[in-house]
């Protein structure tokens, strides 16, 4: 640590503006895409994604270089930690919106449509042949009859996978702190593997749902909440896995030492967050 006690204020960086251009391109493309003007939408969207990846790569590279050059002192480290913690909090709130939708539908809107309590009139005048149950695709049977996934098959398996991945990454962390490089790499690698397998099963489950259960994004409120919740979670697992892979490479390169390895911890936190969200999903989407 060259200048202990000096707060590192980086000088100008071009990565943010590249990031903004990337985001803009992505969103612009997406907007065209959903309005199915595929011809430009799709390519523009992926072009934007490419720019974003380029930005992330470059940005993190410079951060890593600075870190290795020892520019960062404890205070900078604390800033990074706070940044990561609050970012995860914002993610929690994002999922909260969709869980909120699920709870609202299950405990209010569907029962009301079925004529319970506050919904008597609605039921009597508009949906008098609808009886509220959960899962439901609504009085109009939107998307046609469907079956739901049994929680005790793949979902249970996935739960076990993610939970154990939580354990493996903790072991890896201890190994890192104890300086057991080989054990660190093995268990971190194992974590990546578990994440990947989880995703594999998730994909398989989706195919099942679409092909054999007629459970689709259009299966009324159940399909909507089911796929949006599991889908966004899956997206986060994917990101988490990629982050883990990067961290694995950095460990292999020996970027971290016993005392300072925030990069590792940040990803670990993120992974635990993804883990916890899944437990919530398993309980409220599958089991209950």
């Amino acid at each position: 640590m060259a200048q202990q006690g000096a707060y590192y204020v980086p000088h100008g960086s071009k990565w943010p503006i590249i990031g903004s251009v990337g985001l803009f391109t992505t969103m612009f493309g997406a907007a065209h895409w959903v309005n199915d003007s595929y011809r430009i939408g799709k390519p523009v969207f992926f072009a934007g994604i490419a720019v974003l990846l380029f930005m992330l790569f470059g940005w993190f590279r410079s951060v890593i270089q600075e870190s290795l050059a020892g520019h960062y002192n404890r205070q900078v480290d604390v800033s990074f930690r706070m940044g990561m913690m609050w970012f995860i909090f914002s993610e929690v709130m994002f999922f909260a919106a969709f869980f909120g939708a699920l709870f609202y539908a299950r405990s209010l809107s569907v029962p009301w449509l079925g004529g319970e309590g506050h919904g008597v009139l609605t039921h009597h005048y508009l949906w008098d042949d609808f009886s509220a149950t959960w899962p439901s695709n609504g009085p109009a049977n939107v998307g046609g009859a469907f079956q739901t996934m049994s929680p005790w098959g793949i979902p249970l398996l996935n739960t076990l996978l993610l939970l154990s991945s939580g354990i493996t990454i903790t072991i890896a962390h201890h190994a890192l702190k104890a300086g057991h490089r080989s054990r660190l790499l093995v268990f971190l690698g194992l974590t990546v593997l578990l994440g990947a397998v989880f995703l594999g099963f998730q994909v398989h489950e989706y195919r099942e749902a679409y092909e054999h259960f007629n459970l689709t994004l259009n299966s009324g409120i159940y399909g909507s909440t089911f796929f949006m919740l599991t889908g966004f979670h899956g997206l986060h697992v994917t990101l988490g896995t990629i982050m883990l892979i990067v961290i694995w490479l950095r460990c292999a390169r020996g970027h971290f030492d016993k005392t300072n390895h925030f990069g590792f911890e940040a990803v670990a936190w993120y992974w635990h967050f993804v883990d916890v969200v899944w437990v919530g999903l398993f309980l409220f989407v599958y089991v209950l």
Binding site: L113, L121, T122, H124, Y125, L126
Partner: protein, 293 residues
């Protein structure tokens, strides 16, 4: 400013009009028991605010006059007074309880739609209303329902650059531009009427100020509300939830008449439906008969 409003409001509070009047300053008083309660609640809240305003702004003005540096005022250095702070936390609490109490009562009164003698189903469409008489005095009404939309003269005048003058749109003296329909909703006076409100396409909101309530017309959902109209008359309202380009052009007109008159009208409507139905079946027979002939 407050004082000005205060004085003028006083003047108007007494003569609050049933339908919007030029220069009207205050809430419409209304023609139902609940609308009167709401009006009283509104005035209570208004006066509470005026009083608090006078105290707070008064103190500020005094401070600005007495403690200005140009008058050589020397600043004190104190910055705490627990007693004061407790007082102005507790006093507002009491004031708010004083407001919440009557509000709660009025709300519970308004929420109780039981024992209604007439049920009317109101459906919002882009951009018109449909009214169906469901049941009256316990009997279901035989298919009486109709669409009610913006009156033709208003509709002509409201077109962009129509060149027509909104002030010329009148109905026996009352300038009813954008507040008149082709077919008003006919209702009896002195009867507890229950409105069941829903939307057919997007969310609308059924609002006649003189009836004292507003209820959203939500697709797939039914809300209800009630009113007992105390005196006959024409009561006008408008859609009160943005529902697209012609949101501003789907007014509501209620025509309140004596129960006797209302019953005649309703009977006439029912007959009309029957005749119409008979005619249609006859029509159908002949058409089916033709091929044989």
């Amino acid at each position: 400013m407050i004082a000005g409003v205060l004085a003028t409001t006083l003047a108007w509070a007494s003569s609050a009009a049933a339908n919007p009047e030029p220069w009207q300053l205050n809430l419409t008083r209304g023609v139902t028991p609940t609308s009167e309660e709401v009006y009283q609640l509104h005035m209570l809240a208004f006066w509470v605010c005026v009083v608090i305003g006078v105290v707070v702004f008064g103190a500020m003005i005094v401070a600005m006059v007495r403690f200005r540096r140009s008058k050589g005022a020397i600043a004190e250095t104190w910055s705490h007074n627990t007693k004061l702070e407790v007082v102005w936390t507790v006093v507002p609490v009491l004031i708010l309880i004083g407001l919440a109490w009557p509000a709660t009562h009025v709300l519970m009164h308004m929420a109780d739609t039981s024992h209604s003698e007439l049920t009317v189903k109101v459906s919002g469409y882009q951009w018109k209303w449909r009214y169906d008489y469901v049941e009256y005095q316990g009997k279901t009404v035989d298919k009486v329902g109709f669409i009610s939309k913006l009156a033709a003269d208003s509709d002509r005048t409201r077109q962009l650059d129509s060149g027509l003058d909104p002030w010329d749109v009148k109905q026996n003296g009352y300038p009813d531009y954008l507040l008149n329909v082709d077919k008003p909703l006919v209702l009896p006076t002195g009867v507890k009427i229950r409105f069941v409100v829903t939307g057919e396409d997007v969310i609308h909101s059924w609002w006649v100020p003189t009836l004292g309530f507003k209820t959203d017309a939500i697709p797939g959902i039914v809300n209800d509300a009630w009113a007992t109209i105390e005196k006959p008359g024409i009561y006008r309202g408008q859609c009160a939830e943005l529902c697209g380009q012609d949101h501003g052009f789907m007014p509501i007109v209620v025509k309140a008449v004596s129960p006797a008159e209302f019953e005649q009208w309703l009977a006439a409507q029912e007959d009309a439906t029957r005749l119409d139905r008979a005619a249609r079946t006859a029509q159908a027979d002949t058409t089916t008969a033709q091929p044989r002939g």
